[in-house]
Each structure stands twice: as C-alpha cells, then as structure tokens.
C-alpha cells in the first residue's frame, strides 16, 4: 500500500488530527503537576503531531475534489446521529490554521509558570474542539465540538487572564452560549423538517428546496438561530461587545487562539450553513449583512483608533477585519468568498502575531499603554521590525498577505454593493491611521529613558512569531498557495448559493 492511499483512504486522518491533542491532554492529566518540563514536552509533542498530520493531509488534499478524508460511522442511531467528518476547500485552510496557531501559541505558552498542568490540559482540549468544528459534517457532532471549545476557553481566560479575568471569562461563556443554544433549536428544527430525518449537513444542504416548503417563518427563524450563534462568534455588530474584554483579559497565547481561530468558526458557519442552506432567508438578510459589515469595518476601526491600550487596539482591529469578511460573504460571488476565507486565514496569522508581539512588550514593560513608550526602535530593533511588518500586513500593505484578501473582498463586493463598498474603504484609511500612530508613538522619536533596560526578543518568542511573519510575506507575494487550496470549492459554493437567491 502506498503512503498516499494510506493517507487518503485508509487512515482516519481527520480523527487523528482532531484527537491527538485530546490524547495529549489526557496524558498530561496523569503526569505529576510539579514536572513542568515533562508536561510541556508532552503538550508540544501531541500538538506538533497534529500539525504534522494536518500538513501531510494538506499535501495529499486535492483541491479540485469535493469532500475528502471522509469518515462516516453510525454514532447514535436512535437520533440518526452519525460520526461524519470530511474536509473540503472551505474547511482545510482552517484545519491547518488551527493546528499551526495552536502549536505556535503553545510555544509562546512556555512562559506560563502558574498551574502549568491545568493550562496545558485545557489548551490541548481547546485544540480538539476547534478542529472538530471545522471537520464535522453532522450537525450533532458539529454542535458538540462547538460547545466543547467554550469550556477550556472559560478556564484559560478565567485562571490565567488579566485583572478582570473572572468577569471576562463568564461574559465570554454566557454570551457565546446564548447564541449557540438557539443554533441547537435550529438544528433540531431542521432535523424534523427533513425527510427522512437527518442531521447530515450535506444532505440538508441538498434538500434546501424541500426545506422551503416548511414556510417562510420557519426559514427565517432557523436562519436567525444559526446567524445568532455565528454572528456572536465572528463577531458582527452589535454582538461584538464580548470581544474586547475577552481578548484583552486573556493571556497572550489565548488571545492568539481567540482572534486566530475562534472568530473563524463564525465565518465558517455562515458559509457552511446559513448561505447555502437557506436561500430565501439569505435573500432577505443579505442587505442587512452588507450594512452590518460596513458598521463593523468603520466602527471597529474608529474604536481601535480611540484606544490607548495596544491589546485593546488590536482587539478592535479584529472587529474591523471581520467586517471585510462579512463584505466578502455578502457579495455572494466566488471572488468575495475567496477573499473572505483568505482574509480569515490571513487575519489569523497576522493578528496572531500582533497579539504575540504585544505580549512580548507587556512581559517586559508590564504596560501596554501606547503613550508610555517612545523610541523603542533603537533599543529593540528586531522587535520593532517584526511588529512593523505585522502592522503593515494588517493595514493592507501590498506585498503582504492582508492586502490580497482585503482586495478580493472589496473586489467581490463592489459589483453588487457599490455604495456600501465604497463607504467601507474609509475603514482602510482609519486602520492605517491607528497602526501608523502606534508605530510612531512606540518605536519612533527619542527613546523614553524609562525603557533603557529593555531587551530584545528571546529565542522562544522568535520561535513563535517568525513562522507567522514568514507566512505573512509568503502569502502576500505568492497568494496562490492559499487561494488554490480553496478556489474550486468556493467557486462551486458561490454558484450554488447564487442559484438559490
């Protein structure tokens, strides 16, 4: 048997990726809590293996084909629940993004010294939950993974977070749960609306015209149930209020995961469920989505401009960037969809590195106040260089990853929504404004003598940030690497969505 058939058909490759971290978490559970080094090694080993397996899967992934690495087993026959996993061009980028960002975050987490065992346990459990969301094609399974991500995130923010950690953790949990319980009701509603009753996401998508027969009220209610869950995660205005608090209070590595992966679950859900499954409701809600995206872009950017705290600023910039994603989605074109998914991936990489870099300076200076610094460029040139690179990528400088995806989002949306897209461009200006202002205040000008003793980045920090910085450049110069992966699936998806609307 060749290695290729082993990967593509014999091995349960997606389950392997998903549950390797869980096994790691369980192994950590039985290690003595004083053996910090052992725990860290186990964690890195299992998360690293997940990354490795996902890379192998990526190599053998054929973008031109539909769902691959499919695993299908009966799980709870009484409820027609199946263990159904599969990956296509929409999910594959997120799977790799998740394994990569988790591994990077775990490297950054080597600095955690308090309650190490619990920290690594929760982090690996979180990875399993996130991966499952992107891979499961059965709604029950999807919901289980969706909820599993909440619990570890709650603990990671609540135990290792900043001054208001308990409040932030509880708010995060309740807010997201509030959204997802309505998704649960929608799922059950879909189950009973389908004939024969099924929870298979692909079958339900194929049955979308039969679902229409349930009437418009049903269509709208079920759409809104899913939308609430996904819009809170993205987050789309006005459900973004949990985000700044959670991102700021979370420890550095957890902020990376929050912004890098968790938000993407929302965008992924909108593309996997809302748009293809409910054509009539999509028709109704597509315009509000454009307006909401516009608000996200401009309002998010203005909020970021108003921040004095670097981490808060980066957090609000996420709201702004997710607005581009919304715009790409609302275009209902292949270009826009490509832009949206690519933007989500890029945002994961770029904002991930921004949070890591803010963590670097906070660990040394114990403040994130933009006004407290000055002239650090001379003192910590490497740090200043990488930070500037990340900021430039985030504000959409051509040649770096962010530009390509933002451009595609705008390009896709400009056709159907000329005015709103035009207005949204204002957001880019403001984004440039707040990033440049931060670079100027922190790195340029005369050195603030208070920080004369500041040291540049250490090896651990390089190990975490450099892969992301490299990807930022590579995907900016040669975006085909990312786009080829998703283009076929997304073109088909856009055509399918468009044909219903």
């Amino acid at each position: 048997m060749s290695f290729e058939t082993l990967v593509t058909s014999s091995l349960p490759i997606l389950s392997l990726i998903t549950f390797l971290p869980l096994i790691g978490a369980l192994v950590i559970l039985i290690v003595d809590q004083t053996k910090v080094k052992t725990i860290q090694k186990i964690g890195l080993a299992f998360s690293g293996s997940a990354l490795l397996v996902s890379a192998i899967a990526l190599i053998y992934f054929d973008p031109s084909r539909q769902f691959q690495f499919v695993e299908d087993y009966a799980w709870i026959p009484a409820l027609s629940v199946r263990y159904l996993m599969g990956a296509d061009g929409l999910s594959m980028p997120f799977v790799v993004l998740t394994t990569l960002l988790t591994f990077v975050s775990l490297i950054a987490s080597l600095s955690i010294e308090n309650r190490v065992k619990e920290y690594w346990f929760w982090f690996l459990l979180l990875e399993t939950g996130m991966l499952g969301v992107f891979e499961s094609l059965d709604f029950f399974l999807f919901y289980v993974f969706w909820e599993i991500t909440l619990v570890p995130m709650y603990f990671l923010i609540g135990v290792w977070g900043g001054p208001k950690k308990e409040y932030a953790a509880t708010k995060f949990f309740l807010y997201t749960l509030f959204g997802s319980v309505f998704m649960l009701l929608s799922i059950i509603g879909l189950y009973f609306a389908s004939t024969p009753h099924t929870l298979n996401m692909l079958e339900l998508t194929a049955q979308r015209n039969e679902l229409l027969k349930m009437g418009m009220t049903f269509q709208v209610l079920v759409f809104l149930g899913f939308y609430l869950a996904f819009a809170i995660k993205v987050p789309l205005f006005p459900f973004h209020t949990w985000l700044p608090l959670a991102h700021v209070e979370a420890p550095t590595a957890v902020s990376v995961i929050l912004a890098g992966v968790l938000l993407k679950m929302g965008g992924y859900g909108l593309m996997r469920v809302n748009l293809p499954m409910f054509p009539e409701a999509t028709k109704l809600f597509i315009f509000p989505l454009v307006v909401i995206s516009f608000i996200n872009i401009v309002y998010g950017a203005l909020c970021a401009l108003a921040q004095k705290d670097m981490k808060r600023m980066v957090a609000y910039s996420s709201v702004n960037h997710m607005g581009y994603v919304g715009l790409g989605l609302a275009s209902l074109t292949a270009t826009g969809f490509n832009g949206a998914v690519f933007q989500m991936v890029n945002h994961g990489i770029i904002t991930g590195s921004l949070f890591l870099l803010v963590g670097v300076i906070y660990d040394r200076a114990h403040t994130r106040d933009i006004d407290a610094f000055g002239g650090l460029g001379a003192k910590t040139p490497m740090f200043a260089g990488i930070m500037t690179l990340a900021c430039m990528a985030s504000l959409g400088l051509p040649g770096l990853a962010g530009f390509v995806s933002e451009f595609l989002c705008f390009l896709g949306a400009f056709g159907p929504w000329k005015i709103w897209t035009g207005l949204s461009v204002a957001g880019i200006l403001v984004t440039a404004g707040f990033f440049l202002r931060m670079i100027q205040k922190v790195f340029l000008g005369p050195l603030n003598e208070k920080w004369a003793g500041l040291t540049d980045m250490n090896a651990r920090e390089y190990a975490a940030v450099l892969p992301l910085a490299a990807l930022t450049v590579i995907l900016g110069v040669y975006p085909r690497w990312g786009l080829d992966l998703m283009n076929d699936t997304l073109t088909a998806l856009a055509a399918f969505v468009k044909s219903g609307v």
């Binding site: 599993i148 709650y154 609540g158 749960l177 319980v181 509603g189």
Partner: protein
C-alpha cells in the same frame, strides 16, 4: 404467578427491609451485616428486574410493565445502590443504621410499585410508601432546630399533598365509578371513551397532578424543597432529589399516556398540556433564578434540582414516544450527574467541614481530579456537551419541537440553560479561580468509597455522553 413475576423486586426490597429492622432491633452493632443485607437486596432486585426483561411484558388489572417501566425501575435500583454507598460514608448517620437502610429500601419498593401501578388505588398506596419512609429519613439527623423545621415542613406539605391527591382520586371515582387507568380510558385510548370522564373527573385528575407536582417539586409546589433538602442527611438528599422525582414524572407520563400505546393523546392530555407547559416554564425559571443567590451547597443543589425537574416535565408535554423516552434518558443522566454533584459536596463537606459554597475554594489546586469531576457534573447539569446531560436536554428539546405547538417551551428552556450556566459556573469559579480555603482533608479520614463513587459516576456521565448507544439500546429500544 404473574403477580409474583410483577412484584418480585418489590417483595425482595420489602422483605430485606423487615429483616434489617429485626437485625437492628436484636443486634444493633452489626453494621457490616446490615450493610451487606441491603446491598444483597438491591442486587437481587436488580437481578429480578433484568430477569423479567426476558419474559414478555406481564400485566394484571392493576399493575403492568413495559419497556419504559423497566428503564425507570432500573433507575430506582441504581439510585438506591448509589445512596447506600454514599450513606456508608456519612458519619452523621450513626444511630439506627438498620432502620435507615430499611426505610431506604421501603421507599425504593414504593418507587418500583408506583411505576407499575395502573390503578389509582395502587398509585396512592405506593406514593404513601415513598412518602412515609421519606418523612422519617429527612428527619433522621435532627441535631439542630432548623433541621427539625425542615423535616416538619416536608412532613406537613407531604401529608397535605397526599390528601389532595386522594381527594382527586375520590372525585374521579365519583364521576366514573372506576379507578383503573384502563377503565377510565386514560393511557391514550379512544377519545370517545375518554370523554366519559367528565369535568368532575378532569378536576380530580388535576388534583392528582397537583399531588405529583408536590412530590416532583414542580413550581409553585416546590417551596418545601430547599429546607427539606438541607435538613436531610446528604446521601438521602441526593436520593430525594433524584429517585422520587423521576419516578413521579415517569408515572405522570404514563398516566397521560404517551407510552403505553401509540394512539395519540387522549382528551385529558390535550386539555392538560398547556397547563403542563406553563408549569414546566415556571419550574425552570423559578428554580434557576432562586439558585443564583444561594450560599449553601445543599440549598443550591436543591434549587438546581427544581429547575432540572422543569426540564423533565417538558418530556411529559409532547404526546409522543419520544416524550416518554426523553424523560427516561434525561432521568438517567440526571441520576449520574446529580448524585455525582451531591457526592462531591458530601466529600467537600467532610473534608472541610462546611456546606458553604466558599468551602469549595481552591479545590482545583488541592484536589484537581475532584474539582474536575465536580466541574463535569455541573456542566453536565447545565447541558453542555459531551456530557450525558446534553443528551438528555437534546432529547427533551427534540420531543417538544417535534410536537410543534409547544416550540416556545424549548425557547424558554434554552434561555434557562444559559441562566443555569451562570450559577453552575459560580461553583466552578470557587473551585478553579479562588485560592485554597485553608483547611484541607484530615489525613485519618479515608473516603475511598466516596471517591470511587464519584469517579464511577463521572465515568458514566462522560462515557454515556460520548457514546450513548448501549444506554439507549438498554433503555429505549
């Protein structure tokens, strides 16, 4: 012969209870012997129950069994066994050990009998068997004045509700001259026959319903719960919060007949359904909102158990097979997670000498596995996957959405889930986010049995949540 087959488990439990009383009277110091007898009785009853499964369903005019009855009976016996294990680890039950065990077995026998009852006289008889045994057990540890108050409250309310139920039964008899479900046209028989019960009979049925609501702690008939739960010895509190409650809801669903035949709801059921919907919403909301401000762990779990009863009541609502099995699945999950939560509370109370919520502080740092177990039980109670509590909630929600007209109950229920997460997380907050409490486990006390019970229940909560197939096959298929 049929009757023996029907009543085998009850006879064993009852006889063992009498033997225990005798031993307690003659050799009150033979604790181990008495414990052994009670376990033997429970195991024998379980064996009879499982043995009876292979025979075809037995029935007489007053009693009958079906698949759902089997599942609920299993729940009663497992609950009894867990309570036995917890009771062994409770030092407050030091005197009259034999009587304690005997009463526990009597209550369980009553529960088993109630599930089979297909006649209102039997319903009343078995309810009283549960109640009278429970009255004494709640008052078993009465060192403090407030404990006596709680027990007395429980007794008065219990007696009162029994009287209402009995009056309701007499009304039904007055209207129809019948007391058996079958003759009354309950249990989903044709509506032509069902209408013969008349308005007086319907009023009677409503009073029986109220009496069940007291037993199952459905709001607004729940006010005795926190005091009684706080007063009772913790193992029996756990028992009280699970077994009688699930049994009462189980017979209730049988009565409104959603299980025995598939002929659809009777007129009674249809006219009672909106009332039940409102009661379910009320129970969840009141239970959850009251739980938020509790500072005592037992009172906290008391209110949480009220809310849980509300979720189970939703299963009664939908006139379908799914509704009946949803109560059973939920009840089974509830058995595992609620006993688990009580077991951890008992463990903490013994280790740290207090039932205050603050005594949970820093448990994650001193005893991480115990804290993790408690977190799992609480999240399961809140309905977070992949624990079994989620499966139960999924079943309940599915049953009510399937019925279509009552979908709004599902909306109220999920909103309540969000509220409940808030207060369940409060305990998690103390365990994981606060620093340790100071006092820790005294070394000489070994609680091996208690700890192993906790982890056995945890294993069930997780395993059946992740892979419920064997459980569902046993309970439903």
């Amino acid at each position: 012969m049929d009757l023996v087959k029907l009543l085998g488990a009850e006879v064993i439990l009852g006889a063992a209870g009498l033997i225990l009383l005798t031993i307690d009277f003659c050799w009150p110091r033979r604790r181990a012997l008495m414990t052994g007898v009670s376990y033997m009785a429970a195991i024998a009853a379980l064996a009879v129950l499982v043995g009876a499964l292979s025979h075809e369903a037995a029935a007489s005019a007053f009693l009958s069994t079906d698949a759902l009855t089997f599942g609920f009976s299993l729940l009663v016996i497992l609950g009894t066994m867990i309570t036995l294990a917890l009771s062994q680890e409770d030092p407050t039950i030091d005197r009259h050990w034999g009587s304690y065990l005997a009463l526990l077995l009597f209550a369980s026998a009553g529960g088993l009998l109630l599930l089979k009852a297909r006649d209102f006289v039997y319903v009343f008889l078995s309810l009283e068997l549960i109640s009278i045994a429970s009255f004494i057990l709640v008052a078993f540890d009465r060192k403090e004045l407030w404990m006596i108050e709680g027990a007395l409250k429980y007794f008065l309310v219990g007696a009162f509700s029994s009287a209402i139920g009995l009056y309701g039964i007499s009304l039904i008899y007055a209207a129809t001259g019948q007391t058996s479900f079958d003759a009354l046209g309950l249990m989903g028989l044709s509506s032509a026959r069902a209408s013969s019960i008349g308005w007086i009979g319907l009023g009677g049925l409503l009073m029986v319903l109220v009496s069940f609501c007291f037993k199952a702690s459905i709001a607004p008939f729940h006010f005795w719960v926190p005091d009684a739960y706080q007063a009772a010895p913790t193992p029996f509190t756990a028992y009280l919060s699970v077994v009688p409650k699930v049994v009462a809801l189980g017979i209730f669903s049988v009565l409104l007949s959603f299980s025995a035949s598939n002929m659809g709801p009777s007129i009674q059921a249809a006219s009672l359904a909106p009332i039940i919907a409102v009661l379910a919403c009320l129970t969840m909301t009141i239970g959850n909102l009251s739980a938020i401000h509790q500072t005592d762990l037992k009172r906290f779990l008391a209110y949480s158990s009220i809310a849980q009863a509300g979720y189970m009541l939703i299963g009664v609502l939908s006139a379908s097979r799914l509704g009946g099995s949803s109560i059973l699945v939920y009840g089974f999950g509830y058995l595992l997670m609620n006993f688990g939560a009580f077991a951890v509370v008992q463990w903490v109370a013994r280790a740290r000498g207090s039932y205050e919520i603050s005594s949970m502080s820093g448990l994650a740092q001193t005893h991480f596995p115990m804290a993790l177990a408690m977190a799992c039980f609480l999240l399961s109670l809140a309905g977070i996957p992949p624990f079994i509590g989620f499966l139960g909630k999924y079943y309940v929600f599915a049953s009510v959405i399937e019925s279509q007209w009552a979908w709004w109950v599902a909306v109220v229920a999920v909103l309540n889930s969000v509220i409940s997460v808030y207060y369940y997380l409060r305990i998690v907050y103390y365990m994981f986010f606060s620093d340790p409490f100071g006092r820790t486990v005294s070394k000489e006390v070994s609680m091996a049995l208690l700890s192993s019970t906790v982890f056995l229940l945890l294993a069930g909560t997780v395993a059946f949540g992740v892979y419920p197939r064997p459980l569902l096959r046993l309970l439903i298929e």
